[in-house]
Subunit: 343 residues, 2 copies
């Protein structure tokens, strides 16, 4: 009696049945019609396959086809809910299209990022969706130039030739700042992420231009921070609190920083929004339930993931549908209770 469990192969089925491996392969790949395989042969092959619970060896298939049906997902921190949500949608959408996800967390280290990119290449992923750590994207461009389909999410670079999906950062930032200005704020601290990152620059520019529109002189000492993380928000907020005159509002260019900022404020006993106002770029589900519900710019998380997958699959499968250079998604401004109205 042939074996029932374990690693079955086409060969085993073929031997059990006395047909060729080729035939089994064809049947199981739905090519019976194409090769005019007799209904009867097809029947017995299928039957035997289910009987021994055959599972194709995708590694062998990958090697042969030079296609792994795998996408590399490179993020800076999968524990960050922003990327968690993104990953979820990327995972779902990928699976729908027959791809699996190889997860890589760079921990915001460029060095590791480079290493991981090599790993993904070595593992022959069909494409990579990445949210880069830093300012320079040379290693991304390099990989892309080697022919690896790539899509960048959230962050992007100056003069980058890689298609990307992100939010309309400039516009969202511009309007959030105008909102602050319209409420009478004139001295607005801005906690930024990676300074040279285009994502960041766009947000900062939105902030600046809004000030200009209101005839408020730009004060570069008010723009602080250099990392998209909680500690930055925390530390820079404490620094801003020491300013004289103290800013009346803080615009945080990321939700982790906003969280850190909020924590610092609470720790210092500074009341929001009475003593200081705060707005966050990027939303979190718990924002409405904080001690002071946070006003925030919500990004289209799920759309971002789905579009990224669609773009990369377009690249991979070389469909004619034009792959845009980049997509800027609309954001939603959720006004809550963290901004004081001076009017």
């Amino acid at each position: 009696m042939p074996k029932l469990t374990g690693q079955n192969t086409l060969k085993i089925i073929a031997e059990n049945l006395g047909v060729s491996i080729t035939t089994v392969s064809r049947v199981l790949n739905g090519q019976s019609a194409k090769y005019r395989i007799s209904k009867q042969t097809e029947q017995i092959v299928r039957k035997e396959a289910t009987r021994i619970d055959y599972e194709p060896n995708l590694v062998a298939k990958s090697l042969r086809l030079q296609k792994t049906q795998t996408l590399g997902l490179l993020v800076t921190d999968i524990a960050n809910p922003f990327f968690g949500t993104l990953a979820r949608h990327i995972d779902l959408e990928s699976r729908k299209n027959g791809y699996s996800i190889l997860l890589c967390d760079s921990g915001s280290s460029t060095e590791i990022e480079i290493e991981l990119l090599r790993l993904l290449e070595s593992r022959n992923v069909d494409g990579v969706i990445a949210s880069p750590v830093g300012q320079r994207g040379d290693h991304f461009e390099q990989l892309k130039d080697k022919g690896m389909p790539m899509v960048v999410v959230d962050r992007y670079f100056k003069g980058m030739s890689i298609p990307f999906v992100t939010s309309d950062n400039y516009k969202a930032s511009f309007e959030a700042t105008k909102y602050l200005l319209s409420k009478g704020h004139r001295r607005i601290g801005c906690i930024q992420g990676l300074p040279e990152c285009l994502l960041n620059t766009d947000r900062v520019n939105g902030y600046k231009d809004a000030l200009t529109e209101y005839g408020v002189a730009f004060d570069d000492t008010l723009v602080v921070g250099n990392q998209y993380n909680r500690d930055t928000g925390y530390n820079e907020t404490k620094r801003l609190l020491g300013y004289n005159p103290r800013p009346t509002a803080i615009f945080s260019l990321g939700s982790s920083m906003a969280f850190g900022a909020f924590a610092a404020l609470m720790e210092e006993g500074v009341k929001v929004p009475e003593d200081i106002s705060i707005i966050s770029f990027d939303e979190q589900p718990y924002f409405p339930f904080l001690a002071t519900p946070l006003t925030a710019i919500a990004q289209q998380n799920s759309a971002m993931g789905e579009i990224a997958v669609k773009m990369i699959i377009n690249c991979i499968e070389g469909r004619n549908k034009p792959v845009g250079d980049g997509v800027f998604l609309e954001t939603k401004f959720n006004i809550r209770k963290s901004v004081r109205d001076f009017n």
Copy 2:
């Protein structure tokens, strides 16, 4: 001039150099000494490899070695910060040991879970770390019986033969409930997750036994809910609010449910802890900053991930170090402001 970019192979190096593929393979795998390859040969091989920027084809290697250096990570929802954090540590620890992570999000669907398990098998992962959806773990046992190394995190099953890492759920729940009782609460609503899941049962039992210790009769109408998600917390809280007499406290057996519960309470204008108290099993970073800072049971997230990886690698590499049946990690009870003291 030989090519410089693209998919290089051992063969290319061998041809460029006029040596055999075997030799190249040996050098690049650090077996020069073992095979007494001349320093000179080693030199030129290494040089050529870096010159053409050779990257081994891990798919081919996997097929040949019957080992993919890949771990399947199966979770119910990667967007949930609990799993996000877990994933992060699993990813880091895996990479340290030379493994990559194939991410699979079941979306809490058993059907998809089964499908994904087959996929992971098909992809020849060396092992799987899973946080199962439901009550029954048959498909997990089946895969394990086929010889797949497996470790279960967070959740676990009755009579399961798969090693697991989780928190000391019973004890943590027992003590949290006692805390509530010590503050004078006698009517304590309990929002549970999957009823038949052992993780849940343990937590419910801790709750029950604490009541018993305080001589409080167990009222099964007070145990509500059936899913580890926000909606459950939200809906069941609204239901509990309708009870007469109304419970004075809610013990939520998961943080997503606690979040939903908190949202429901705020929406209904019920004050925490004045009108009703709340405790959450499982901690979230934002809990201290909510409108009422939530008292919660913190789990050892990072340790859980690291231990899971160590366990699975032990299984895979069949080291002698005994792999325990299961590990129950200590929890930490973080007392904040969400429990009213009736004393």
